[in-house]
Assembly symmetry: C2
């Protein structure tokens, strides 16, 4: 195995990828090296910035430099002593329709220059293509992939098998399955460039997740052309391990300043919102009077520092089990990213399957987007498939969440304990207490210390979708569990009547009794009396 | 005037504050200097980090160093050639109940050491105090403030008048009004430390906004004790100009690593998610083997870099008119910050009054929290108070928003132009077209290029509160405008039936005709025919 997974969160992971030039840590960004116009020398990328690997284009090398990289070897040619990856010219096929080399020639060239990671010459699908055209690219890519295994002669290079299909998700699924069945070391999602240029990150999210479901989960996935730090977090969360960036240099040439939150033109800047070693000693004013070439190098280096910082934030988040929080924050830098985040709920079971659901730390719940979190899916599935209330339970006493957790230790619960004492042990045994809470739905009292039922913090006031979700979960719970009645304490300030109506409806449909007591603006004494009356009525039926 | 406002966004501003030791730019963070344990020398704060001002505590100076700072002068004593601010011992009153110096002594000391900005000896309210106790602190602070103006002898020092009242907002309002009526140069919100320690940023937001409404808007506002970069953005947006941080040093002593997104203990870190000059050349592993003192200095300096970067991000956002976006992103780093953001809608008219509503760039709309944006309030107020439809308009044709903007130029509108041609000029004149869209509500076609009606991007799918808001705005619009009927084209995929039901209800209540046509899954030809039939029916009534 060339790829070893060290830490996981969501579909993101910190991994070690073994190449013949050393082991590199993922998630990883390959800066794109263009030997003819390279603003930052490759070896400086490693020594100063810490990039362990770079990518360059074998097709362009062959066309421009012919045999020189073969004679010198790619590492010496680039003057880079880390790991190298080569692309194959497939992107040029997308742009120009065809290239003048066959796959056989490209594969031989990649082997001969001794790259560490290499790409077959696939046929990118592109963005504005019909399903029929897309089918052709998928079929041709698969054909070339199979051919490739007869062409390759070296065993020490890691080969990348791109998944095509574009926005046609059934084709992406088929392509992923086919490519995944071949013995590639790495997969890539083919040409998402145009999808990203059109800011259709929602479509991109579906493409990535569809590809992930088809390829073996233990192989790394490269997202070609994704070089902007705003989208690293969501791409990693969806299972991308490798990225490449020509953007750091292209943006620099155009005077554009990247940040993890967006892009500026330097003319628009009064401040550098950054502390990288370049920005710490420069202002936009001092930069603007420097020669154009110096500005370009400044920007290229700044752009690289920003990419590195974001990857480190992502890695630390994975290690902390807080990648979701990081993604959610970053998704609020561009509407297209938040649209993408909203798609994840369509795949929440897949996410839950491969993501750790027990963690060392709690989590923050902001908004209904968070309902796709694996911790929530995990709890809800288990509750409905594995849980049964205590056998003595006749009536369900459903209480609203408290600010303090665990719920059963919250100060508000003093009243409830008092109520149970008043009822006496025999009746109290027939009352089963559960809390309805965001984002989990119904939490039986005896489970409320199980992770993460007390180890989370939800934003108040709740958003309507979240309230609706809790209402839906309450319906499910009541329908499935063998109570003969339900008594609910509602807190309309937080929940309005959504959960109460839902619970009432579920009881009516099930043909069991339902009663609700309001918590607002009454004394503890009155509250206990009301709850007691309701419970006694239920239990006497 | 010692304070000049250069740029504004929301209630935040970039300002120039003139002190006798030079002009400093706000929003500004004063690092707290503790002369007896100071991890970073004051002059280094200026020369390397660019801090133009520092703060120290006059009460502690007087107690520990007595006359030395008087003899040397504060600047020489601290060895700092920028601007200095002094606190007065009020925080020590809060913690210890009282201090051994009178206000008279403290004020004289502050004048004698020659600080540039000084604080009166007010009485902080604190957090867990009854309304009666709080009233005493407010009254006593006001009494001392009035006394102070008889004590001061120098005219070249900027004096800070703190606003007290704690969480009791009516007291805060009264205190702000009283303190604001006195000739202070700067105000401060007294002792929010405990509010922040309890993560009640929602309460803090209300306190800040209440104080802002009482004090003269043109004076800077200092938020005492707010030293964590996660909350600078929202505090600036609410109108705070000055901050002080002892946290950078206190956190460093406790091994805590600040970021703009939260805090880590260094033992928990595998990566430094930062590119500051310190973090660029260090890893948690290499740091952990260094001597404790070096670690502390490393952390203090890193913490300061992080604070600087966040302030620069905030300033650039103000300059770009994108402070709301920055705040919204940052609010997704902690539930308490998002809870605070949710409070702003209670003050949206105040925000609109002092915030520019015309900007050079468009904006991003993520979620219903954004409904508090001044651009939206501004448009809606003007539409309902100043707009009337063309006089020929009989029926309102209400169309759903398009992805492309301006709406009237979107490809989907080709059908509508065709429809108008079919109707002929006479009938077409009686049809007034408007679009219902998030987040603005109803936008008449002829206004759709007015800023920011085409210069925004909203996340799809929309959240329920936003849909509800558009429905409410549609009701308001229909009720107020003199149409004799409404025809609506609904797109249930985006809007479900919320806006349609709202429009129907408004028409019924008003006693005018309403008809709706569904846009989904029908041909253009069919759509035009359906709309034509509906309009002809309306116009023939």
């Amino acid at each position: 195995m060339s790829f070893e997974i060290k830490e996981k969160d969501l579909l993101g992971r910190i991994g070690k990828l073994k190449t013949k030039s050393g082991t590199i840590e993922t998630p990883l960004l390959f800066p794109v090296i263009n030997p003819s116009v390279q603003p930052v020398p490759p070896q400086r990328l490693k020594d100063v910035f810490g990039f362990e690997a770079v990518i360059t284009n074998a097709y362009i090398l062959k066309k421009r430099y012919q045999n020189k990289p073969v004679e010198e070897g790619l590492h010496k040619f680039l003057n880079f002593n880390g790991a190298t990856m080569t692309d194959s010219g497939a992107y040029q096929i997308l742009v120009y329709g065809d290239v003048e080399y066959s796959q056989k020639e490209i594969v031989a060239y990649e082997e001969n220059i001794g790259t560490d990671i290499a790409t077959i010459l696939d046929i990118p699908t592109g963005w504005r293509v019909t399903k029929e055209q897309a089918e052709v690219t998928v079929a041709e890519t698969h054909k070339r992939a199979k051919e490739f295994f007869n062409l390759k002669t070296r065993e020490d290079i890691l080969w990348v098998g791109p998944v095509q299909g574009g926005k046609h998700l059934d084709l992406v699924a088929a392509s992923a399955k086919e490519m995944g069945s071949l013995p590639f070391n790495i997969h890539a999602l083919g040409s998402p460039t145009e999808v990203m240029e059109n800011y259709r990150y929602d479509v991109l999210a579906e493409m990535i997740l569809t590809a992930k479901k088809g390829i073996p989960i233990e192989r790394p996935l490269h997202l070609f052309g994704a070089g902007h730090p705003t989208m690293f977090a969501i791409a990693v969360a969806l299972g991308c391990d490798l990225f490449d960036s020509a953007a750091y240099a292209l943006y620099a040439r155009e005077g554009r300043y990247m940040t993890e939150n967006g892009t500026w033109r330097i003319q628009e800047m009064d401040y550098f919102p950054c502390t990288c070693p370049r920005c710490a000693t420069e202002t936009p004013k001092t930069l603007m009077i420097k020669p154009a070439k110096d500005r370009e190098i400044f920007l290229a280096e700044h752009n690289l520092w920003v990419c590195i910082a974001e990857l480190k934030r992502i890695k630390q988040s994975i290690r902390d089990g807080r990648l979701w929080e990081h993604v959610e924050m970053r998704a609020h830098t561009h509407p297209a990213l938040l649209s993408a985040l909203k798609r994840i709920k369509n795949h929440k079971d897949f996410l839950e399957m491969y993501s750790p659901s027990i963690k060392s730390s709690g989590f923050f719940y902001f908004d209904h987007e968070g309902l796709a979190r694996p911790e929530i899916t995990h709890y809800q599935n288990r509750l409905l498939t594995r849980y049964t209330p205590p056998t003595t339970a006749k009536t369900l006493l459903l209480l609203p969440q408290t600010r303090n957790k665990p719920f059963h230790k919250a100060p508000e619960m003093k009243k409830i304990r008092q109520l149970l004492r008043i009822l006496g042990p025999e009746l109290a045994d027939k009352v089963h207490i559960a809390v309805f809470c965001a984002p989990f739905g119904v939490v039986p009292f005896e489970l409320d210390e199980v992770y993460p039922l007390s180890q989370h913090e939800a934003v108040l006031p709740l958003d309507l979708e979240t309230i609706g979700h809790v209402a839906d979960q309450t319906i499910e719970y009541i329908k499935q569990m063998p109570y003969s009645s339900v008594t609910m304490l509602n807190n309309p300030k937080v929940w309005s009547n959504y959960v109460e109506s839902a619970a009432r409806k579920a009881c009516t449909e099930k043909g069991i009794a339902f009663d609700a007591v309001e918590a607002n603006e009454i004394s503890s004494r009155q509250l206990i009396a009301n709850l007691k009356a309701a419970l006694l009525k239920q239990l006497s039926n």
